[in-house]
Every structure is written in structure tokens, then in C-alpha cells.
Symmetry: C2
Subunit: 147 residues, 2 copies
Amino acid sequence: MKLSTRGRYGVRALLDLALHQGEGLILLKDIARRQEVSLPYLEHLITPLIAAGLVKSTRGARGGVLLLKPPSEIKLSEVVQLLEGSIAPTDCVNNPDTCHRSDFCATRDIWIDMKKAMIQVLDGMTLQDLADRQREKVQPEKEMYHI
Amino acid sequence: MKLSTRGRYGVRALLDLALHQGEGLILLKDIARRQEVSLPYLEHLITPLIAAGLVKSTRGARGGVLLLKPPSEIKLSEVVQLLEGSIAPTDCVNNPDTCHRSDFCATRDIWIDMKKAMIQVLDGMTLQDLADRQREKVQPEKEMYHI
DNA sequence: TACTAAGTTGATTATTTTTGTCAACAATTA
DNA sequence: TAATTGTTGACAAAAATAATCAACTTAGTA
């Protein structure tokens, strides 16, 4: 039941962008450095976010990326599902046809409930909320991590 | 965020035992057949359940396994965590020391909330509840799956 | 006692997923 | 035109997962 680095790093990257909201284009290189993620890997994580319209990218010198929507309008449920695919604990939750037992499987109901509970948590948190929390946490001497 | 087969098959195996509660020793071979799991693999899944005292096993001819506690006293949270290990979405949830960012990481709070939500669902469901649900579901012509 | 049935354990292997790296490419700016 | 920056796809290393196999132990029974 672990989240992969895609989800973890991806959310951190977007949180980084939310923290720098309004500062214009942000370099992937800088996000990679602050969030301690390899640049080539981050490039792959940012791609689906661009495709989904959450992030806008500009190539070339003076290029970079920025959030296309206000952080308050980006829910973590959207982000995590974009990066991880469905967070259903089993395939049968999304598609009963993946298991011929689905019709009469009691355990499937539980996995469905688990997915709902997870989505509910992530639905209740936006990038803005996350950025606010982050600003509360960071002590001055640790500021390097979000500059 | 997928459950592994350990969790899925293991819960099914225990559900099978709950459905046959009171019938004495049940053969692993029969559980494997009904739950469509390979016997050698099931043997490995049952081991930690025996070690944890949920299941009692008897070797030799006329041997088999059975639930040591009433199904109503076995919560799915216990079972899943036994089989899957912690269901925390990240390692840092259980042990902040696995990541040096834990102290000032806002995303970690989210993963903690997710774990709590998942546990809550699994805490609210016992093997007895599951068995009751299963009995409601199974139509006569599908009975083969729990005999 | 010998034989068979059943669970136990550890070694090993196959497969899949994850986590990246690398290089060629495209677009933009100075 | 040169430098910078994001884009894409191919590829590979590493780890986790999902088994399988074989030797072993225990218990019942003829």
C-alpha cells in the first residue's frame, strides 16, 4: 500500500510551485534541487501534469513552469490520481471485470470503502492548504528547502 | 497504492475460515481450491497468521487449520497489517527518520491522514461482518465458491 | 512399525514494477 | 547563431512481488 515516488515527488513539485506562485516561471532545475529529486526524473513527472493542464511550461532560455490554476483550486485527489493512476487498493475496485469473483466477493466491498476513504482525505486538501501548512512549518534556518 | 496478493489472498483465506467456522479443521488444500490461490503460496500466507495466534494449525493426517478467535473479534485492520506490513502510504509515516525532510514536510501530514482513514475503515470491519456480507451475496448457483 | 497425509520452512526463480538515466530533439531568447 | 530550457522515447538497473520446489516435521492409521 505504498505510494510510489511519482506521487510523492509529484506532489512535492506542485507544492514547490504553489509556494512560488506569482513569481513567474520556475526552473525545473530549481524544483529538483529544492525538492531533492533528480532533474531527469522530475521531467517525467511534470509531463502528465502539463498534459492535464495543471502546469504550463515554456521552453527555451528564460523558460520554466508555473501553475495554471490557483493552488486553492487544485485538489490533491486530482494530483495523486494523475500521477499514480487510480489509488484503488485493487484493480477490481475500478473494473469488476478484472476478476471473475467480483460479483460475489465480499472483500471487494472493503477495498471499495478504503478507496473512498482515501479519496475523501485527498479531496479535502488543496495545494493552497498544503502551502499554508508548509509555511507554518518551515523555520527560518530551514528556509533553504523552499527557496 | 495497490494491495499485494498477500493482503488480498490472506483476507480471503481468513474469510473462508470464518465461513467454515465450527466445522473443525479445514484443509489448506480446500481453501486454496475455493479461493483460487496456489497451495504453495497459501502456505506462506498462513504462516504469519499462525505466528500471530489468529490461526491454529494441526499437522499430519486429519490435520488442517482453524480460527483461534471468534471471527467477530478479528478486525481486518489486524489482518491486513499482519500480511502487508504497515499500510502507511510512505515509510516516513511510521518512522520520520527514514527521510531527513520529515520535520518540516507538509506532505507527510497528508500521508498520515491517509493512513488514519484507511485504518479506520479496516478497524470497522471484522471477519464476522465480512462473512455475513458474503453469505448475503452468494447466490445458490455460485455456492461452489464457498463450499 | 511403516506408510501416508498434512503443514513448515528455506532456497530459488520468474515476472513485474519502479526508478531512474541517457540522448536526441524542439522551442525560445539573447 | 548560440545558449538555455523543456520534451520525448528508448533503455537499463534495482527492487519488490509472486510464486515454485524440495526437503523436512508431525500426526494418524493400517
